[in-house]
Symmetry: C2
């Protein structure tokens, strides 16, 4: 049995030897650029781990793994245009390094390339996997649109927020697991348990990411601590704090979350005050409960899965590494 | 045998009863909006006509016809952002009516919706048709990128221009024919003759559109006469004129095609002078020869096609209507 590190190497080597060639360069260079920025490659790894529960020849799942990763990176290119983000993984975003038009069009081409990677499937698998892929892709678009809508709304509920992050990020992790399983001819019911495992793990991961944004170790988190607060993003913590706050604290939070264009010192002051309020309101405990709820749902789905118990070990370890990381 | 008008009605009714429902509204409204603007529906009609050469139950080809039309309209939404176009079919473009972000994301969703329409195919057809669809989709992106690149290049050859318009517009007409045929289980070789018919007809059509831009009847053309000249677009006519011009005329053309921000009277003067030069250089005859060359190639492909001759009549009539329209 390959370890997770081994699978990572297999994925990296495959991606390295399967770049996207073609003309004009302005269309293909951005594709290879963003894929070359690396990242944790969580999604392709999930495809392979899921496949490996049912079949040993994991290299057969590599086009599927790449399809999921290429799709994910297409969403990053387009999201970065919409968010006007200057940096991605510490490097210039595609729309900054080239321009908006090239970012739109190379993103479009990536989405098509992701579909092209499914062509290698035999016809019966294609018939099963294509709808899972497209349904997920549409849901990711819906999640991104909700995220944009929420920026200007003040009435977002926690349920709506969780639904938004589920669509925007978690369903793709679910689909990575499900598609890996279907690629190995697993039963639909088993593939669905793995979908749930991936989706719930994705929810726990995204909520933890929201938590780390404000409470993470600056040396380990890799982004500025408090970035969501500076951007007035309404994450789980914020929404919960608004719910629990008394009138005067609610008013203070409203004021804090409507300030813009602060200088760095003012931003740090704002972040610290928000953190104080959150701590006083105990919303971190609510957050941790919520993370645990989704994490446990993921583990239950894994428990229900009908494969030998020792084969589940790797996924359990993967889930633990993803969620129990240093804060 | 249904007439072309009958097929048009079948297409319109199907599109009307198969709109795209979903939430959030900001994602789905633009999709139904652009599809509701109408247009000639040339591509879905081609899918049905091609299917009907081999099988009678044309309604089975309607999801394929809609897939091609939805894909085409996805490209319109994204192209209009890139071109900063305010109007499409006389109405506001999606990025103007909503905003750039919504236009990017609803375009993305449309591309995925186009793929979802292929899901209704049985698995063996899916395996054959999906690669044709994706290959064409990528080529359309390549064509759009070449078109953008050509805006700032002064060394574009006529061959490169024809290759660009082939990718940007003609291959999709070829694919519409090919996919219609494959949907009716036609032989690959027959499907390829129909691809050539569609592609060459598309080239003739696009070149004629370039011609009509400068020489069309303003009451029939539906756009301002001379729009390409005002925008300094290097179409076949312009490229040919540069090739045939003597030194002094070449210099005058260079100057004419580098003017910007003229007032309306100056623009009209520029258009008239360009038309005079083109007429003096006889480039319209060259253009007509070129259009005829591609039109004849389309008819030859139809001739080679192995179906009963009387079944080809409708396609021949369609080709004649498309190309021999009033100028």
């Amino acid at each position: 049995m390959q370890t997770i590190d081994n699978l990572n190497t297999i994925v990296s080597n495959y991606f390295e030897s399967n770049k996207f060639e073609g003309n004009p360069a302005e269309l293909y260079d951005p594709i290879n650029y963003i894929l070359g920025l690396g990242g944790k490659r969580v999604r392709p790894l999930m495809v392979l781990m899921s496949y490996k529960l049912f079949k040993d020849d994991v290299e057969k799942a590599l086009p599927l793994a790449q399809a999921i990763e290429v799709f994910h990176n297409f969403t990053l290119i387009h999201d970065d245009i919409m968010d006007k983000a200057p940096l991605r993984r510490g490097e210039e975003t595609v729309h900054i390094k080239w321009d908006d038009n090239i970012a739109i069009l190379s993103g479009d081409a990536m989405l098509i390339k992701a579909y092209q990677l499914l062509e290698e499937l035999e016809s019966s698998q294609l018939k099963t996997i294509l709808p899972v892929f497209s349904k997920t892709a549409i849901e990711v678009c819906e999640g991104q649109q909700y995220d944009m809508n929420f920026e200007t709304r003040n009435d977002v509920t926690i349920d709506q927020y969780v639904e938004m992050i589920s669509l925007k990020t978690s369903v793709l992790l679910g689909a990575a697991m499900k598609i890996g399983a279907l690629g190995a001819d697993a039963e639909e019911s088993e593939a669905n348990f793995l979908y749930d495992f991936g989706k719930f793990l994705g929810l726990a991961f995204q909520l933890q990411d929201d938590y780390l944004d404000l409470y993470g170790d600056p040396n380990k988190f890799g982004k500025r601590i408090g970035g969501d607060v500076v951007a007035n993003k309404k994450t789980f913590l914020t929404l919960k704090a608004f719910l629990k706050a008394d009138k005067s604290t609610e008013q203070e939070l409203k004021e804090l979350f409507s300030t813009n264009n602060l200088n760095f010192a003012e931003e740090e002051k704002k972040i610290n005050r928000v953190r104080e309020i959150f701590t006083a309101l105990d919303v971190v405990d609510n957050m941790k409960e919520e993370i645990n709820k989704y994490y446990n749902n993921a583990i239950i789905a894994l428990y229900e899965l009908n494969v030998e118990e020792n084969k589940k070990e790797e996924l359990l370890q993967f889930a633990q590494n993803l969620i129990k990381r240093d804060v």
